[in-house]
């Protein structure tokens, strides 16, 4: 190679590297700067460093902000009555017990009330399910003497503490001893008449409120449409709107399509409606959606989630779909029955989802939507993962759909109280939720084995028998 050819090659290499670096620094794709793969809970927002990290004075990425964890997760921790709130480790003697289990800083971080003491990100090699970065023996830091204090636990290996159906770290709402004692003799299935989920009641509450205000709800027809005259619509759009609860509740075109222009502050018509319009009336549903796997990117200020970005298996036909309210509810139909199952299965293509149609739950769902069974008796995807839950909303006992499926997903025992118990006994539910094969098969048969051997109920029985033998009462 000649002297000049060498220089030219060098110049090309330098220019190429410079260009690459420039694009990497300023371009949309910042993957190059990820220090390691993020967890399943955070990968959707991993390229927005400031979603979790502060910014240093010189503009570089700073430490993880505890407030970022709190903003997204504290609400659920408060709701479930967190078994291990970080303040429980407030005493120095407690924090010190964790020292032998430190990777490098845990006890100090716990003492300072940082979630990342146990949930380090970007470190897949040490990260276990639920984004836990502490070793499996972590429970032993404080509970190594459990065998001495509880005869029933003598000899149990530390690897069994967090076995499905035994203990969770944060949410033991369905696993506490007294709760299990109360439900240890539950029947597998509730009587049919009792196995019903509550039904949404926002329509009733809204009508009653409007009547109280002296402005009773009047159902609308196409003659009442208030869209600007220069807008034209396909007749099917109008027919869809006319058939919905929206039209029946007096919700007109401009109620959704008129939005405030961010720049001018003027109210303008927009063809495309976003979640802000929906949340004017469906505040709690929108709040749940923004905290969910479907809406967390919007909540962080990013483009909506798309199925092809997911780590779960998604159907190729769904790629490109933007996860906003309309993705599941349709633009004008707002068919909640469609949203409860079909919308899910239009995208989700994992084994559990695919097998839904083979399950008894699906049979019950078909019976409900075809009118063979009463409303609330069917089991759709949403029945379990986006359930209708009675809640106190501004003083009203309102049943609405919880749109944050994280609250009804993993660890799956968190679904026992809020969902499974509507129809099943606790032992049956815990056994089913502990059986990985049964989960993949989408519960196409009853569980055939206990969640663990000995099961939590065996241990309680042993304990009660021992107490009785000693002439002690079983108060708790």
């Amino acid at each position: 190679m000649s002297f000049w050819a060498g220089w030219a090659a060098w110049a090309v290499v330098v220019a190429g590297l410079t260009g690459y670096l420039y694009l990497a620094l300023t371009g949309e794709d910042q993957t190059l700067f990820l220090p390691g793969e993020t967890t399943a809970g955070h990968y959707q927002i991993e390229l927005l460093c400031t979603a979790c990290h502060g910014t240093n004075e010189d503009g570089t990425v700073g430490e993880v902000m505890q407030s970022a964890c709190i903003d997204c997760h504290q609400e659920e921790l408060d709701r479930i009555g967190d078994s291990h709130p970080i303040a429980k480790f407030a005493k120095s003697t407690d924090a010190l017990m964790l020292a032998p289990f430190d990777q490098d800083f845990s006890s100090a971080m716990v003492k300072s009330a940082f979630c990342i003491a146990c949930h380090v990100e970007h470190d897949p090699e040490v990260t276990r399910p639920m984004g836990v970065s502490e070793p499996e023996s972590m429970c032993m830091a404080c509970h190594s003497d459990i065998g001495e204090n509880r005869e029933t636990h003598t000899g149990l290996a530390f690897t069994t503490c967090l076995t499905a159906g035994c203990h969770n770290f944060h949410d033991n709402g369905a696993l506490s001893e007294s709760f299990l004692t109360k439900h240890m003799h539950d029947r597998n299935h509730k009587p049919e008449a009792e196995a019903v989920r509550p039904l949404r009641n926002y329509g009733e509450i809204y009508r009653a409120e409007q009547a109280d205000y002296g402005t009773p709800v009047v159902a609308l027809t196409r003659a009442d449409m208030d869209a600007p005259r220069n807008r034209t619509f396909d007749d099917s759009v109008i027919a869809e709107w006319e058939s919905t609860a929206h039209a029946r509740a007096g919700v007109n075109c401009t109620d959704c399509h008129n939005q405030e222009d961010e720049e001018t502050g003027r109210i303008v018509w927009r063809d495309q409606v976003n979640y802000q319009s929906c949340q004017d009336c469906h505040k709690d549903e929108a709040h749940g959606f923004l905290k969910s796997r479907h809406g967390m990117r919007i909540d962080a200020g990013l483009d909506p989630m798309r199925p092809e970005l997911a780590r779960l298996e998604m159907k190729a036909s769904s790629h490109g779909k933007l996860m906003n309210c309309n993705a599941c509810h349709g633009a004008h139909t707002y068919d909640t029955l469609h949203a409860a199952t079909n919308s899910c299965l239009e995208c989700h293509d994992d084994e559990h989802s695919r097998n839904f149609v083979n399950s008894t739950h699906h049979e019950l769902w078909l019976d409900e939507i075809t009118g063979k069974a009463a409303a609330g008796t069917g089991v759709s995807c949403a029945t379990c993962h986006l359930p209708r839950v009675p809640s106190d909303v501004a003083g009203d006992d309102r049943v609405y759909v919880k749109h944050n499926q994280n609250d009804y997903l993993r660890p799956n025992e968190k679904m026992v109280r809020s969902v499974c118990m509507s129809c099943h006994g606790v032992p049956f539910a815990l056994d089913a939720l502990a059986d990985e094969d049964l989960i993949l098969a989408n519960f196409d048969a009853p569980p055939k084995k206990p969640h663990f051997n000995p099961s939590s109920f065996d241990l309680i029985t042993q304990k009660l028998e021992r107490l009785e033998a000693r002439g002690r009462r079983g108060d708790d």
């Binding site: 009555g81 303040a87 429980k88 407030a90 120095s92 407690d94 010190l96 002690r472 708790d476």
Partner: protein, 217 residues
């Protein structure tokens, strides 16, 4: 980052006075009242022991009020009965460890105290307090360090508050331990009957455990 000792003292006094004023409470609950001159104000501020004594006065007062005027009054004196919405049956109102998941139950006094400690920690993690006992139902509340084990024995024997300094994790703390006595039937009844209680013969005025306050010095 920890506050300096003087800043902490000022904060401690403000917190105590603020809380006491808000609640309109004075005096001490189910524990011993340390003498006024046990540790007094100095020209430059309060000694840790004085701060601890004041903190304890508020804690013990709140604890006594909750035990006597809420739990004991409703569950023992009035024996309140409530209707279970699931079964329609009348049942006794009682304290329960799972009060937040169980209809018609009250937080146990020990939980009420711990929740207060956790809330205080959220506001200010420069001091620590909690309950410990040689006969705790939750074994996590047994004395842990050698210092706590030694002091709790002395406290159980004498019925008097214990003070000292202890080093934990390279940090030195002033530690005060105050006897926590059985002040109401609800206290000893529950502990004597609980299936996980290691002691079943508590009676009125027994020292059931201690309130421990740690202040970094």
């Amino acid at each position: 980052m920890r506050l300096t000792s003087k800043r902490f003292q000022a904060l401690g006094v403000a917190a105590v006075l603020g809380t006491a004023t808000t609640l309109g409470l004075g005096g001490c609950g189910g524990g011993e009242s340390p003498s006024a001159d046990a540790a007094g104000a100095t020209g430059s501020g309060l000694e840790p022991q004085a701060v601890a004594d004041m903190l304890h006065a508020v804690m013990a007062a709140d604890r006594k009020v909750y035990v006597a005027n809420v739990v004991n009054r409703l569950t023992k004196v009035q024996d309140v009965q409530i209707r279970d919405p699931e079964t329609g049956e009348m049942k006794k109102l009682k304290g329960s460890e799972e009060w937040d998941q169980t209809f018609g139950t009250l937080p146990l006094p020990a939980q009420q105290f711990r929740y207060g400690s956790e809330e205080a920690f959220k506001k200010n993690n420069n001091f620590e307090y909690g309950l410990i006992s040689s006969w705790s139902i939750n074994k996590k509340h047994m004395p842990k360090s050698d210092f706590e084990k030694e002091k709790i024995k002395a406290m159980e024997e004498t019925g008097k508050p214990q003070y000292g300094t202890e080093e934990v994790g390279g940090e030195t703390f002033f530690v005060a331990m105050y006897p926590d006595r059985a002040t109401a039937k609800a206290c000893w009844d529950c502990h004597n009957k609980h299936k996980d209680s290691p002691k079943t013969d508590f009676k009125q005025d027994d020292v059931m455990g201690g309130i421990v306050i740690r202040i970094p010095v």
